[in-house]
């Protein structure tokens, strides 16, 4: 990954945090002062490098991990905003990247009961909960949306 793509990636993440949602192609192009076509080319390279995830074939951001651009079953309240995470791991990740305490709202996939976790200093308030990962690590990126 070359420096211009790293810069584009960092700008995209910065916009995501500033806006509280995924930036569009046009918003990102305006922010970095580049044509949308160049930003799209860069995003596609970043997608191939697993540095962000596009909702292909569109050039729209699906994931800037740990953030999700679309609603999920993992809602995170942190830094005076509400965010969607891609999974439980990413839900904690949002608190980490924002450097903020937070509240994770999700539900048990088995019984549907609400699971709410307060995160303080990166520690969960309910340590009885379990995290289960179905897909082996070697296959996480085979289908990252499913993973």
């Amino acid at each position: 990954m070359d420096q211009p793509d790293i810069d584009l990636r960092n700008a995209t993440y910065g916009l995501f945090v500033d806006l509280g949602r995924a930036p569009t192609l046009e918003e990102t192009a305006a922010a970095v002062g580049a044509p949308a076509s160049k930003v799209e080319e860069g995003w596609r390279r970043l997608h191939e490098a697993h540095a962000l995830v596009l909702d292909l074939p569109q050039a729209a951001i699906r994931m800037a991990n740990p953030f999700s651009a679309v609603p999920t079953t993992f809602r995170v309240h942190a830094a005076d905003r509400a965010w969607y995470a891609n999974c439980a791991w990413d839900a904690f990740g949002i608190c980490v990247v924002l450097g903020a305490d937070g509240r994770i709202e999700t539900s048990c996939p088995d019984c549907g009961d609400a699971i709410n976790v307060e995160v303080r200093d990166m520690r969960p308030d309910d340590e009885s909960l379990l995290f289960h990962c179905l897909v082996p690590a070697a296959h996480w990126w085979d289908d990252i949306v499913f993973t």
């Binding site: 790293i6 490098a49 740990p66 439980a88 791991w89 904690f92 048990c108 088995d110 520690r123 909960l129």
Partner: protein, 69 residues
Amino acid sequence: MNLFRSEDHIERWLAGRPPGGTIPVAKLAELAEEWWGDRLAPDWRPHTFEQNQAILDRLGLTGDFWRLG
């Protein structure tokens, strides 16, 4: 990659599928801190395979399931 109340809930949800990896939520919080800690850093660089595997290993997430490839 979900949170569950207990092993029983995981087993019911799996409905006969082979189980994956299960860790306590406190371990997940540690993992998130190590994995995502530099994600918004101005000097961010992509993690190498070896760096990511080292994070898993350091947290005791070893064995075939936690091998990245």
